[in-house]
Amino acid sequence: MRPIAMFLILLFALSPRLADASGLTYPVEPASTHIRFVVGHLGLFSTTGEFKDFSGQLFLDADHPETARVAVKVETASVDTFWGDRNDLLRSSDYFDVGHFPDMTFTSTAVERTGPDTARIHGVLTLLGRSHAETFDAVLTDRKPDATGEVADFRVEGHVLRSDFGMTAGKPMVADQVDIAIDAHVRLK
């Protein structure tokens, strides 16, 4: 990992008050955010799932998204594919190995504005004890005033290769590429 990335991760992890100081920090929580994923099976069909438990912080100045920072910790045992047997398999040592790796984290390292309502989030995903640089594309899908202020909806999409984290079980039945889609609803300060 590049020293600057490590520095940013440490900065975010160890100094949450730093971001708080600006007053533009929002919690990343299941009440306002959905983390879903889709993985294909031999190109014939796919499985959709989600993570139900996670927490984190988003620093966001909606007018200057390039200054945004995000750090999220996802409880891997909260994986839900709407079928108990499959959830148990995913929690096993072949996949998320939740006994040894109860969480995965994503910490942004840089956010670049790519359009009026779009941004690219660069960061580091740590899963199964391995860290890998990942990129997600964010779109501001809605921003409007409501009774108490202003709300914004974001969709963040990207894909990861699970083999980058040593998760190779189930291939080729379970594709290497996992598509991730995160929907977030933020009540802007």
Partner: protein
């Protein structure tokens, strides 16, 4: 061998394969995803073939007549078992298809492994559990009645020897 006999024996062979396949595929651990997937899709494909063969048989039976049954209680028993087997041959693919559709796994039904047969219903864990129980029960009924049918057929056939074969039971 007449077409009716051919279809009968094809059905018998496929049902035997299905019983073995059905009971073994559920025993394969989920971790062996590909093996389990292939076995399930093979089971579904053969189920569809059996359903088609049975409809064909019923059509042939209507055109050409059914089996010649012995007189008396044996004939009544044989006729009842034949009817029950035909009902099972049609009902099992239907319950199997519906339980696949209701399965929370969301795995499609792929004839020959790649032709998707649209599911008429979506995942429903309660219905899935009920249909699973029914399908298993039908499997046992198929095994017991199939053995009874085969055993009775053998006995009947033996009783006919050395009599003329053409008067024996003709699968219909």
């Amino acid at each position: 061998m007449t077409t009716q006999r051919r279809v009968h024996w094809w059905t018998a062979a496929l049902v035997a394969v299905m019983l073995v396949l059905g009971w073994s595929m559920v025993a394969v651990p989920l971790a062996l995803l590909l093996v389990k997937f292939v076995l399930y899709q093979a089971h579904k494909t053969i189920g569809i073939v059996i359903f088609g063969l049975t409809l064909w048989r019923l059509a042939l039976r209507r055109w050409r007549g059914g089996a010649t049954l012995p007189a008396g209680w044996r004939g009544v028993a044989a006729g009842t078992v034949h009817a029950a087997l035909l009902v099972l041959l049609l009902a099992m693919p239907v319950t199997g298809f519906l339980l696949s559709a209701a399965s929370p796994s969301g795995v499609p039904t792929l004839f020959l492994g790649f032709i998707a047969i649209p599911h008429p219903i979506g995942p429903d864990p309660v219905l899935f559990a009920r249909l699973q129980g029914l399908h298993r029960l039908e499997g046992w009924a198929m095994l017991v009645l199939g053995l009874a049918h085969g055993g009775a057929g053998l006995l009947f056939h033996r009783a006919m020897i050395p009599g003329p074969r053409q008067t024996g039971a003709t699968p219909g």
